[in-house]
Symmetry: C2
Subunit: 323 residues, 2 copies
Amino acid sequence: MNDAFLKHLEEIRSSTNRALRQLPLSAKPVYLYGPVQYILEGEGKRLRPILVHLSGEAFGANAEDLVNASLAVELLHNFTLVHDDIMDHDDTRHGKPTVHFKWDESTAILAGDGLYAIGQLCISKLSTGQLEAVRAFNQATLMVCEGQAFDKEFEENDAISLDDYFTMIEKKTGWLLGLCAELGAILGRKDLAVREALRAYGLNLGKTFQIQDDLLEIYSDSHQMGKSLGSDVLAGKQTVLTILARDQWKEEWISLNQSLKNKPVAQKLEQLRTFFDRRGIHSRAQEYAREFSRKALATLKVIPDEKRKALELFTDYVLNRKK
Amino acid sequence: MNDAFLKHLEEIRSSTNRALRQLPLSAKPVYLYGPVQYILEGEGKRLRPILVHLSGEAFGANAEDLVNASLAVELLHNFTLVHDDIMDHDDTRHGKPTVHFKWDESTAILAGDGLYAIGQLCISKLSTGQLEAVRAFNQATLMVCEGQAFDKEFEENDAISLDDYFTMIEKKTGWLLGLCAELGAILGRKDLAVREALRAYGLNLGKTFQIQDDLLEIYSDSHQMGKSLGSDVLAGKQTVLTILARDQWKEEWISLNQSLKNKPVAQKLEQLRTFFDRRGIHSRAQEYAREFSRKALATLKVIPDEKRKALELFTDYVLNRKK
């Protein structure tokens, strides 16, 4: 991959981390700001701030606005992670104990609420398009809540189709990336058509991202991912792999699951990998990820050729990520 | 109390309830919108929308803006209640089971998040002073989170002073009422000095309100309050009554608490009432409530005499409320 591009991502990542650590927050109450600081010092991939920057740079947005918008989306993202981790009983995130695991659920609920409020304060600091940005920010938040609700509602439900799943991940993952891409267009004072195209880019990129996430939690290693592997599949959540398995290989899938009961996680993962590989499920899932990334690329046509390169490279970067 | 005034409050309450029920929300996912609708159909006192209206009416604000601002603050209030009820293990609110009790904690966390996002969308719909309103809204939210954090941090801590307690309730309860009063001034296009005076009004009124709340949970009946009585005192939370008791009657207070262990709640409440009455703690707490309401009234001087009446009556209404 393009070295200058990777260097640029690393610069955005570092400056975002710096800005997160320099947020002017009170020290007290420790009950609130202790876990908030713990989250801000975490090692996220900062993909959302990166997308805000790449999109905003394509449209000539103001540098300070890009920092504030980046902080806002990263805080929004972390707010949803902290609350989702409670709901999903996940104990590790970005290689560290989750807030509810390190402290308790009450602390984590309030830390999430605080992160969201701080994010709102960042988005309301913009010098351009504040109102459009605030509306997009909150519309996206509500869609992410809907996505998380579908995710919970779909748990252990064998009737969920691939289309249901795509609807769910478009809301849960796509809308936040759609917001990031749209914010770049808002900050570059682009009209509604361009804003909507950029949002559509993010919705599709989000589906690529989530399918990759489903694959990585089975095919990656937990050290690299910074979270426990296989937790979605093993918790009865819908993933692209389980739906494809259930749709086409129902009996084999049921009997595999029965045979996996009470086995150690490492063994479960190995047998799941073998099953997904041999039945062509792994490659079909990869094909869906590629298809959504092609759709994402197509929406970038609203950007002049010479300005589009970084977002095209970012699309490949998300498609090919290893963690 | 003034009949025309009470009739006006009832009109605001009814129109707020109507507006809450008519919010254009999706039906699905039921996991999210089921509990959200359940909350919107609840029987809150709607004191915050009432304050937005009375303040806005004093400054000639636009009627539609008052509805949107009222919806926003009521949704914000309900978001904090749903999350606080999880943290405080409360099972009844406004005479109905709390969300986490009727469904589960995950559902309640997400319903709270959704209520807040919907509230944000309401506040960003204003036709006047949107950005000031959005900033005030989120600043207040963060202060309410700080207040809740202090409340949790102070639990079971015998070193908490009356001043610590006033700081905590100013944040937890005062800032939201301060926001309501300030929103009226923002929507009436008033300058910063007037906005700050109105916010100060709400901060003081909030302290009156919270002291009354502490009194009512000991001296009211649970049917009237729509929630279980004595829960804060019995959960080891700081209340004005317990702090006054501990400060001045330490030994008696410790031995009373020991003697109450394992007794039925009704008996505990009766003995607590007797203690607070005989030691003059009840009347000292009432005096604090009156003192903060006098401070609140003093800040209303920025409003011309003939426009100030409704807010003055509202101050008395909060001071003398029975539920």
